[in-house]
């Protein structure tokens, strides 16, 4: 299946966020792809909004199944969460479980005024009542495929599709 150009999709997403009539928010990217996107958004807004990052590994619901294998990055939230309007940024929105973990982690920093979600790709397949307020593109991806955002040496973003069985 032919995947859209991630760079063009990002431009769509950025436009959508920038044109939205919305309260000021802080950006929080979810490792790893969401952090790249949040950094880009931060840059496009000339650094006007505070930027944080989350690695939700310690809040995942599949710890009992998969354990702690991959390198866990340190979460960095350099602003006051209490009372903040937060925009979570992730690359691929699928089951919604990562977002659930991210919301739980954010609440351990404080009580935000609101949390909204921006996703580069919404591939469907939700298992929790979670929706993105800003979406770059919607793609119907079969359940046995993994969709991943990758970044090459020059910093260019690419969407990659592979079989779930070959993952890890």
């Amino acid at each position: 299946m032919k995947l859209p150009d991630a760079e063009l999709v990002f431009q769509n997403l950025a436009k959508e966020i920038l044109s939205a009539d919305n309260k000021l928010f802080a950006l929080v990217g979810i490792h790893t792809g969401g952090v790249w996107l949040a950094e880009r958004l931060h840059h496009e807004m000339a650094g006007a909004l505070p930027l944080g990052t989350l690695d939700v590994s310690f809040y995942r619901d599949d710890f009992d199944k998969i354990g702690l294998h991959a390198q866990v990055e340190r979460s960095k939230i350099p602003f006051e969460v209490e009372g903040a309007h937060i925009l979570l940024v992730d690359d691929v929105l699928h089951t919604g479980r990562t977002i659930r973990a991210a919301i739980n982690e954010l609440f351990d920093y404080g009580r935000p005024a609101s949390i909204s979600l921006a996703a580069l790709v919404d591939r469907g397949g939700r298992e929790l009542p979670i929706a993105a307020q800003y979406t770059g593109v919607e793609l119907a991806i079969p359940a046995d495929k993994m969709l991943e955002l990758q970044r090459d040496k020059s910093g260019r973003l690419n969407l990659v599709l592979y079989d779930k069985s070959s993952a890890e």
Partner: protein, 319 residues
């Protein structure tokens, strides 16, 4: 017959932490890297994460310890586990129950993890061999054999201040003979690629053939401290001293106690570490313990993050 490392399963995955000996550098570094993210958690307002929610961790301390037991307890609680402290020195064993019967009883209470401190070398190994495969064992110090979480938090501290393990000269100073900490440190330092590890001690406080562990032996602080980046002090273990290993504590301080004058022989940016509890005026002078180059209190703080990392990695590695 292949003699497998009892800490690893057949796929090389860590199931118990019993000693740093024979553990691959990749596993040691995974623990240190994971601990780095836990330091972030311990700096937050809410210092708790839900990772080990519903798990029961038993602290089995057959030998008294305040700091180590407390840091394991804090680590487990910050991971949301339930912690049960058993001070066995004054409990079932004094009524005659064997070690393995105690463990069987606690396993029947659905323990997920045992943290074991025992005066006998090999106690944690014995328990690890005995328990069902879904129970993990952490050695919190066994006799004069091993104290792996202390060594790991020391490695974490060294990496924090010196950034990597290459090009370092490290000296371990004091009662090597009785020290499980020293043995675990030596194995961890050599596995992580520290090019020069020295031990500095009087002959009576060195194990026979200690050179076989890959260390350089010095009996003289003036020679041994030259060019050193990291000083790892050891406690003079009065409670383990049988017979006349030493003339007196004063005599020891004169030759091996770390004073500002002796510290000045090492590199000017050297760090001073100590596993605690310190005997001020015996192995270390207060001016050094509380001085600019001391990282002794950060060691304690990092110890919590390192123990959180060990517990969560083990709990996630289901057989």
């Amino acid at each position: 017959m292949i003699n497998r490392n009892p800490q690893l399963d057949e796929n090389g995955v860590l199931q118990h932490l019993l000693t740093t000996e024979g553990l691959p550098a990749a596993i040691l570094l995974h623990i240190l890297d994971t601990a780095e993210s836990f330091v972030g958690v311990t700096e937050r307002d809410v210092k708790k994460i839900p990772l080990l929610r519903g798990k029961s961790i038993f602290n089995l301390f057959f030998e008294p310890s305040t700091r180590t037991r407390t840091t394991f307890e804090i680590a487990a609680k910050r991971l949301s586990a339930d912690v049960i402290n058993l001070n066995i020195a004054v409990s079932a064993q004094s009524k005659g129950e064997t070690l393995l019967d105690t463990v069987n009883n606690l396993s029947a209470m659905n323990a997920d993890m045992f943290v074991v401190r025992h005066s006998q070398s090999g106690a944690a190994h014995l328990i690890a061999k005995h328990v069902q495969s879904d129970i993990h064992v952490i050695n919190a110090g066994d006799g004069s054999h091993a104290h792996p979480t202390q060594a790991l938090l020391d490695m974490f501290t060294i990496r924090r201040y010196k950034h990597n393990f290459r090009n370092l000269r490290v000296a371990i100073i004091g009662d090597i003979l009785h020290s499980r900490v020293a043995r675990s440190q030596i194995h961890a330092l050599t596995t992580l690629g520290v090019p020069e590890v020295r031990v500095i001690a009087p002959k009576t406080l060195l194990p026979k053939m200690v050179e076989r562990l890959g260390v350089h032996v010095y009996h003289d602080m003036a020679k041994g401290l030259k060019g050193i980046d990291v000083l790892m002090m050891l406690r003079l273990q009065n409670e383990r001293m049988k017979g006349a290993n030493l003339p007196s504590a004063e005599e020891y301080f004169k030759y091996y106690g770390l004073t500002p004058e002796k510290l000045a022989l090492a590199r000017s940016d050297a760090i001073v570490m100590h596993p605690g509890p310190m005997n001020r005026g015996v192995e270390i002078d207060s001016a050094v313990a509380d001085g600019r180059q001391s990282v002794i209190l950060p060691q304690v703080t990092f110890g919590i993050a390192v123990r959180m990392a060990v517990m969560s990695i083990l709990a996630g590695n289901q057989a």
